[in-house]
Every structure is written in structure tokens, then in C-alpha cells.
């Protein structure tokens, strides 16, 4: 926004409209001025020529008088602005009182200005001459018929020069140019004055109309300002001007997205509260039971449960920390590593637990399956996948872990013979704290979020499906072929 413009829409519209009106008025005034001047020039030039014609006609019968006469009756207050001279044989035969004693148009001025001014002598001049060729030099030297603009005494004059019936008679009729200007000014004044007077009124009307037009905007502003910060209901669009609809529709869309975000956040908080409080509640309850229990066997049971609760809380804290580190978004240091070797390490780690539950954990790793990745994070991913498979499968179940090259990339697959998941549940896996209900296992639902985030950080894709061979769940993590170059 340029600093010169008013900040308010109303101010801008008012300034713009008024400015445009003034410019249009001035242009109209200029056009009127031009037109009026043209018409006025034609009219007054006509009068000059007419006056000259009269003088010529009158002089035809009076050239014999040798005494120079002064025709002085001033019949009209306009008269001082008009002057005439009649020259005969180089002498001033007749003149008006305000005419000078020398020719109003000097010989050199006549010669200089003749071609330009004689170009438009007007109809009167044509008729006046009646005969002869006005462009042809004649006996009177270079005296020409026509209009001249000359400076006499203290003002500019418009002078019409004509030749009498006899060649040595010259007639000059002049008029002060300032009088023409005065008429023009009067015309222009009468045109512009009403407009100038109307301008404030117009400004008032424009202001009121613009104010009326921008009222919906102000109402919207007040409506938004009155809103409670938590209010995210869409704004009503009925009855609003069409120009306001796109931004308001966008605003409503924003409200909708924020509502959804707040809802997700609220659900997350509720789920997190459940996941964090329940293990602590369990520990507290079991410890209290152990404290009050008199039966030895029951007390030992409660104490073991207390320890199990502590292990669970520890795992939960670890998972939360891992997740928060992943969500912090710091890119982990990557290196080329053998996924098969890593899978072997993790499987070895988890095998004892599986054996205790008579579960079979098998690994099938093709040699040379390398990926770009972070050793620690990929170990976490593998541990989560294998641990999930073992945890949610019954005693005696089978879990197969395989690492194979696929389409230039590498594919890691963990399959189990557990109960598997329904389609709807498979789709929700990976939502933080989403837990498959009724599994009888005390998971937090964070494992899947972690798996997905680690995979995303490595550019790998996670697919969950039914295990064809084992009947349980099959999880596939696929690293695409590294980009060439």
C-alpha cells in the first residue's frame, strides 16, 4: 500500500470518485473553452470584417477629403476596445479616438504575417475583395487583406486589414484581444461555478453512498470482533454482496480446518490422558493392594503386577520420547547399512521372549540388502514391528521376518499367525494411541506411530495386509530403488 493512499476503503473510494469527477469537469471545461473561443473568434472576426466593409463603403465616397478626420462618437461602452483607421495615399484619412496615428499594422508586420493570417481570411474578406487575386502582389506593394495579431501600445490587438475601392486606400479595424478573453472567462465561469458549488454536495452524496455500500464490511468486522476466541462456527453468507463471498468462503474454510485441528488435538489429549494415567493408576492400585494384603501369595501377585506396571510405564515413556524426537524433525544421520544384519540383531534380541511363549521367530534375509538409513532408528522400527507381531499373537504362534531385494529397492516383511486385523482397524493403525481393542495386551498404540514416522524419515512405505501364508498380520516396509546419480 502506497503511503499516499488513505487506509480505509471508504476514504479511497471517496478520494478516487471525487478526483475523477474533478478531472472530468476540468476536461469538459477545457473543451468548452476551446469551443467557445473558436466560435467567439469566428463571430468577432466576422464583426471586424463587417465593420471594415462598412468603412470601405463609406470611404469610397469621402476619399477626396484631405483633412484627416477623427470619427469620435463613442456610442457604446465597448467602443474603447474597438479601433479603426482609414489611410489614403499614405495619410491617415479617418480614425477612431483610441486608434494610434501610425498604421495599426506596420508594413513589415504585414509582410511577415501575411501568409499565415491570410490563409483564413473568412467569408467576409472574400466578399469584400470581390475581384482580383488576393495572393497576387499589386500596386500597393505587399499590402494584404486579412487578420493580424499585433501588439499596440500596452495591449494585444486583433486587426483586420482591408483595401478600399481605390488601391491607395487602406482600412484597419482592430479589437483588443483582452476583451475576447474577458468574454471567454465569463463563459467559462458561468459553466464552472455551479459545478464548483456542487462539488461539496457531491462529495457528501458520494461519502454517504460509499458508506452505505461498505456497511456490510463494517458489520462483518464488528461481528468478527465480537466473536469469542473459541467460536469457530462458519459465518453466515446470506444477503452479503458477491464481492465479499470469496474471502468469506475462504475464511469459513479456515474455520472448518481449525475446528478439525482442535478436535484432533482434543482427542489426542484425551487419548494421551488415558494412556498416561492408566499405567500409573494400575501401579498405584496394585501397590496399595500389596500394602493392605495379609495373604502372602496375594501380596506377591500384587507386587509382581506393580513391577509389570512400572515396565509398561517405562516403555511408554521411551516411546513418547522417541516419537517426540522424530516429530522434532531433526534429520537423523544416515549411512549405508545392511538391513539383513540389523534384522538378525533385533531378532536375536527378541528371540528369548518368544521362546518363553513357545513362539517361533524365523528370519529369512537375502545377502547384500543395503539401504540408506539410521542404524538406531531402523533398529527401533524393526523392534517395534517384531515385538508387535509377537505380542499380539498367541502362545505358540509363528512370526516370520524377511529381508528381500525388490524392484531395485529392498523390502522388509514381518508376518505372524496371530488373529490379524479387520480392514477398518488396519486403516487406523498409526494414529497415535490407536489401539486394537480387545487384544488383551497393554500397548499404548504409539508403536505404530513410531514405525510410520521412522519409515517416512527414510522415504520408505509401510503397508499393512493380511498374511497370506500365516493368516495373521503382514507388515511390509519397502525402500524404493535409490535415485540414479
Amino acid at each position: 500500500m502506497s503511503p499516499g493512499l488513505p487506509r480505509s476503503l471508504q476514504g479511497r473510494l471517496l478520494a478516487g470518485l471525487l478526483g475523477a469527477v474533478v478531472v472530468v469537469w476540468l476536461a469538459a471545461g477545457l473543451a468548452t473553452w476551446q469551443d467557445a473561443r473558436h466560435e467567439l473568434d469566428e463571430l468577432l472576426d466576422g464583426h471586424l470584417a463587417q465593420a471594415a466593409a462598412l468603412l470601405v463603403a463609406q470611404q469610397a465616397g469621402a476619399t477626396d477629403e484631405h483633412a484627416p478626420g477623427i470619427d469620435a462618437p463613442q456610442l457604446h461602452h465597448y467602443a474603447p476596445r474597438v479601433a479603426f483607421q482609414v489611410w489614403h495615399e499614405g495619410r491617415l484619412a479617418l480614425r477612431s479616438a483610441n486608434a494610434p496615428a501610425t498604421p495599426m499594422v506596420g508594413a513589415e508586420a504585414l509582410a511577415r504575417s501575411a501568409p499565415a493570417t491570410a490563409a483564413r481570411p473568412g467569408r467576409h474578406a472574400e466578399r469584400l475583395r470581390g475581384h482580383g487575386d488576393r495572393g497576387t502582389p499589386d500596386d500597393a506593394g505587399d499590402f494584404r487583406l486579412g487578420f493580424h495579431t499585433v501588439a499596440l501600445a500596452d495591449s494585444d490587438w486583433r486587426v483586420f486589414t482591408a483595401q478600399g475601392a481605390e488601391r491607395d486606400v487602406q482600412v484597419f479595424v482592430g479589437e483588443q484581444l483582452s476583451s475576447r478573453r474577458a468574454i471567454l472567462w465569463a463563459v467559462l465561469r458561468s459553466t464552472l461555478w455551479p459545478l464548483a458549488l456542487a462539488l461539496p454536495l457531491l462529495a457528501l452524496v458520494i461519502w454517504a453512498v460509499v458508506r452505505q455500500g461498505t456497511a456490510p464490511l463494517r458489520r462483518l468486522g464488528q461481528q468478527l470482533a465480537r466473536r469469542a476466541p473459541q467460536a469457530l462456527a462458519p459465518l453466515p453468507l446470506e444477503g452479503l454482496p458477491t464481492e465479499m463471498l470469496p474471502p468469506l468462503a475462504a475464511l469459513n474454510g479456515l474455520f472448518e480446518r481449525i475446528t478439525a485441528m482442535v478436535e484432533t488435538e482434543r482427542r489426542f489429549t484425551a487419548d494421551a490422558a488415558h494412556e498416561l494415567r492408566t499405567p500409573i493408576a494400575a501401579i498405584r492400585t496394585q501397590a496399595q493392594v500389596a500394602l493392605a494384603e495379609t495373604d502372602d501369595g496375594e501380596r506377591r501377585h500384587a507386587l509382581r503386577a506393580t513391577l509389570a506396571g512400572c515396565d509398561r510405564a517405562t516403555r511408554l515413556v521411551d516411546q513418547l520420547l522417541t516419537l517426540s524426537r522424530l516429530e522434532a524433525g531433526a534429520a537423523p544421520p544416515m549411512a549405508t547399512l545392511d538391513l539383513g544384519a540389523l534384522a538378525q540383531r533385533v531378532a536375536a534380541e527378541l528371540a528369548p521372549g518368544a521362546l518363553r511363549r513357545r513362539q517361533t521367530l524365523g528370519l529369512d534375509a537375502a545377502p547384500g540388502c543395503t539401504v540408506q538409513g539410521n542404524d538406531t532408528l531402523l533398529a527401533v522400527l524393526l523392534r517395534n514391528l517384531v515385538d508387535n507381531a509377537l505380542r499380539y499373537s498367541p502362545d505358540g504362534a509363528e512370526v516370520r521376518l524377511s529381508v528381500q531385494p525388490l524392484a531395485g529397492g529392498v523390502q522388509l516383511r514381518v508376518e505372524d499367525s496371530g488373529p490379524g486385523l479387520a480392514e477398518a482397524e488396519r486403516q487406523r493403525l498409526g494414529e497415535r494411541f490407536f489401539r486394537v481393542l480387545g487384544s488383551g495386551q497393554s500397548g499404548s498404540g504409539l508403536g505404530w506411530s513410531i514405525v510410520r514416522r521412522i519409515a517416512a524419515a527414510h522415504g520408505a512405505r509401510v503397508d499393512v495386509d493380511r498374511a497370506e501364508a500365516l493368516g495373521g498380520l503382514s507388515v511390509t516396509v519397502h525402500w524404493p530403488a535409490p535415485a540414479p546419480g
Binding site: A282, Q288, G438
Partner: protein
């Protein structure tokens, strides 16, 4: 007193069951919402402890469903959701108490006792009838100020009768209120306990309504 515990978390459920048993309750433990709803409709529990995040059916839905079915037992909602709107929603859906995890076992037991007492229209902490005074919190009984030693079953039976003083309870009703699942009930267990109670507290305390059940008259009902 027999109560239903609906909690899907294995460790917490196990602990709550053990703790509430220590406090003298008979506890039936279910781990999903559907089972909770089924049992609440079928059995005459004295009260229920209901977790909200239950599998198969949310605790709130269980509550709404059993309330619609006319089940009036006191329900204590035990949950991790502590946001005020959640609490309000819980209480408005028919919960009698709303407790956020973790909770002290003694407090939970006390709240349950208070809920049961109020549900029976007994504002007093102790139950009284014909000079017999029963203290549910201390699990002790006195007759004319003198302590009387009762077995756990005898205490539970007396408490059930005193809570419903003035109403006849059938033998089946009493059995259902006294025994949680998996406890073998001998066919004449109630008769035996009533017999012992009469011996310890006086023959007139508990009256037999032949073919119907037992009745503990309210003070003022007897001449």
C-alpha cells in the same frame, strides 16, 4: 456388596478387583463394554465402577443404554479423561460419580459405599434397625452398643437386608447380591447365615415371609 467392575486394562483391573475385595466388596470384573452392558441388565449389582474407554462399546454408551433400560443402580465412572466437558457429559449421561485416575483405593471404596447408601435412601453413614447398628466403612456391627462379631458373609447379608429395610428380599436376590461369579453357593447358604444372624442379634430382627423371602422391618414398622 456385589459390584461390577468394567475396566479393560489388565493390570489396573486386577488391582482394582483385589483392592475392592479387601474393602469387603464382591467384585465381578468385565473387560469390555458389551459385557458390562449385558451384566448390568441381568444382575442386581449394588453399584458399578465403569471405565469410559472400553472396547466394543464405550463406557458412556453402556451407561446411556442401561439407564434407558431402567437400571437405576449407582454408577461410578472411573476414567483418565479429566477435561471438564467430559466430566459434565459423564454426569449428565447418568453417572452418579465421576472420578479421575489414579484414585486411592480407600477413597474409591468410600465413594462406592456412599453411593449405595444414598441409592437406598439412607443418608446416615451407619445403618440402624432395632438397636442394631451397622457401620459399612468399618465393617462392624453393634447391638445395643455392644460389638457383635460377624463373618464376612453374615455382615454382607445383614447389610443387604438393612439397606432394603422394610422390603422383602427373595433368597435368589440375596444370593445374587452376596456372591460374585465363580463362588460356589450352597443351596441353603442364605438360610444358614440368617440362622446365625438371628442367634447373634435376636430372633425378631429378620422375619421370614414363607414362600417369598426375608424381611428386616424398619424401625416403627414393628409394634
Amino acid at each position: 456388596m456385589r459390584i461390577l467392575l468394567a475396566e479393560d486394562d489388565t493390570l489396573l483391573g486386577d488391582g482394582l478387583r483385589a483392592g475392592l475385595r479387601q474393602a469387603g466388596f464382591q467384585v465381578d470384573w468385565v473387560r469390555d463394554g458389551a459385557a458390562a452392558e449385558r451384566e448390568l441388565r441381568a444382575q442386581p449389582y449394588a453399584a458399578a465402577v465403569l471405565d469410559l474407554g472400553l472396547p466394543l462399546m464405550d463406557g458412556m454408551d453402556v451407561l446411556a443404554s442401561v439407564r434407558r433400560a431402567g437400571v437405576t443402580l449407582p454408577v461410578l465412572v472411573l476414567t483418565a479423561r479429566d477435561a471438564v466437558p467430559d466430566r459434565i457429559r459423564g454426569l449428565d449421561s447418568g453417572a452418579d460419580d465421576y472420578v479421575v485416575k489414579p484414585i486411592d483405593l480407600d477413597e474409591l471404596a468410600a465413594r462406592l459405599r456412599a453411593l449405595v447408601r444414598r441409592a437406598h435412601g439412607q443418608p446416615q453413614e451407619t445403618l440402624q434397625a432395632q438397636g442394631v447398628c451397622l457401620d459399612p466403612a468399618g465393617r462392624s456391627v453393634t447391638r445395643d452398643g455392644q460389638p457383635v462379631a460377624l463373618s464376612a458373609r453374615e455382615f454382607d447379608l445383614l447389610q443387604a437386608l438393612m439397606l432394603s429395610a422394610g422390603r422383602v428380599l427373595s433368597r435368589e436376590q440375596l444370593e445374587q447380591q452376596l456372591y460374585s461369579w465363580g463362588r460356589e453357593v450352597e443351596s441353603n447358604a442364605v438360610e444358614v447365615h440368617v440362622h446365625h444372624l438371628r442367634k447373634k442379634l435376636g430372633a425378631e430382627l429378620i422375619q421370614t415371609v414363607r414362600g417369598v423371602g426375608y424381611l428386616l422391618p424398619r424401625d416403627g414398622d414393628t409394634p
